[in-house]
């Protein structure tokens, strides 16, 4: 599968989904005009990629400093499919980066751990 690489813009994060290396990375801020349009195809490709995986390790790195509500909704979709892939026998490792002074992002990550228990949640504190 072809990798997806989108550089960051003022309102969308950098996206680096290297399906061959099984490494998916999101970094930056996310408040696109239409989150459905921005994430729609990315999620579609990810669904395809995950469907073909059998007992594999997937590294997911998320370093978002801000995401609006509609981005959050789309991210839930992403974690839902990652959780299902983990339930199907793959190992999904989520590296969740958060600013040491930003409790909001950490709290959101901890809630993800509760909601998607089959994903291995790895909090990663960033020094300010």
């Amino acid at each position: 599968m072809e990798k997806i690489h989108l550089p960051a813009t003022s309102n969308t994060p950098e996206v680096d989904f290297d399906f061959q290396a099984r490494r998916l990375m999101l970094r930056g801020e996310s408040y696109p005009e239409s989150a459905a349009a921005f994430y729609g195809d990315i999620l579609e490709s990810t669904r395809e990629f995950l469907a073909g995986l059998v007992e594999q390790d997937v590294i997911v790195e998320v370093q978002l400093t801000y995401f609006n509500s509609s981005s959050t909704k789309m991210l839930f979709g992403l974690f839902e499919m990652l959780n299902q892939a983990a339930q199907a026998g793959n190992r999904v490792h989520l590296h969740w980066y958060y600013d040491s002074e930003d409790e909001t992002i950490l709290e959101f990550g901890l809630e993800l751990r509760e909601d998607f228990p089959d994903i291995e949640f790895l909090p990663r504190e960033l020094e300010v």
């Binding site: 959050t72 709290e107 959101f108």
Partner: protein, 241 residues
């Protein structure tokens, strides 16, 4: 490229349920299956909605805090932009700006004040002591002049007072005299052995006179006060006093 919607999966689940409703009459099994799928989707939606609202509340709280910090910062910036950093009096630009606004609306008198022999204080005791004297003089001028008088630092050891509204002519003379006497009465704490005095020029703005001319005439009165021996109040001839 496919058109995506934020609630794509929920709309799909709804659609499936509708189809099952229409076609499931003959098969309770199909109904059960559709209801099961719909309840799972609904459960997920509620969970997501709960998280979303919590996240959005947290973000809103952070934004409110950031906004409050910005408001405080803007107020602090505005204050420092309008005031002299050393003495806390209005700075020259703000003093002149306010003077212009008062002149357009009401009677105005300007008092210009210059500390006597200030250079000597700086030369003999150093600039930190000179700064302490400026702070002390500014504080006492403000106290003696009262809150209704605009008080500014015009630069160096020169200060300005702006008396406005009503009979400014006599009031300005009295305020200047009161300020002069206050300074003369007590040496600054930092130099208890050295009395610090000041010279005063006082001038009322003439009809239609702008700030620039008023400033020049008041400065001339101040110059005469210096020339005639310092530690005194001199008023402009003609218009004032």
């Amino acid at each position: 490229m496919q058109e995506h919607d934020l609630f794509e999966s929920e709309m799909l689940a709804l659609e499936r349920a509708r189809v099952a409703l229409m076609e499931g009459e003959s098969s309770p099994e199909l109904w059960r299956e559709a209801l099961d799928t719909l309840s799972r989707d609904f459960e997920r939606l509620v969970r997501e909605m709960r998280r979303l609202i919590r996240h959005s509340d947290r973000t809103e709280r952070e934004l409110n805090l950031a906004n409050a910090r910005l408001t405080d910062l803007a107020a602090a910036l505005e204050y420092s932009n309008q005031h002299d950093g050393l003495t806390g009096l209005l700075n020259r630009a703000t003093f002149i700006d306010r003077a212009r606004r008062h002149i357009d609306r009401q009677s105005v008198a300007l008092i210009l004040i210059d500390i006597d022999h200030f250079k000597r204080i700086n030369d003999q005791h150093g600039h930190p002591v000179g700064d302490a004297v400026l702070i002390d003089v500014a504080r006492r001028l403000r106290q003696a002049a009262g809150d209704e008088v605009e008080t500014g630092r015009m630069g160096g050891e020169e200060f300005g007072l702006l008396v406005h509204g009503g009979d400014v002519r006599e009031r300005a003379r009295q305020i200047a005299e009161s300020c002069r006497a206050t300074l003369e009465a007590r040496a600054p704490e930092v130099l208890p052995e050295t009395p610090v005095t000041a010279s005063f020029g006082v001038c009322q703005a003439g009809q239609g006179e702008g700030f620039e001319l008023l400033y020049v005439r008041t400065d001339e009165a101040l110059y005469r006060a210096k020339h005639e021996g310092r530690n005194r109040v001199l008023c402009c001839p003609n218009v004032c006093c």
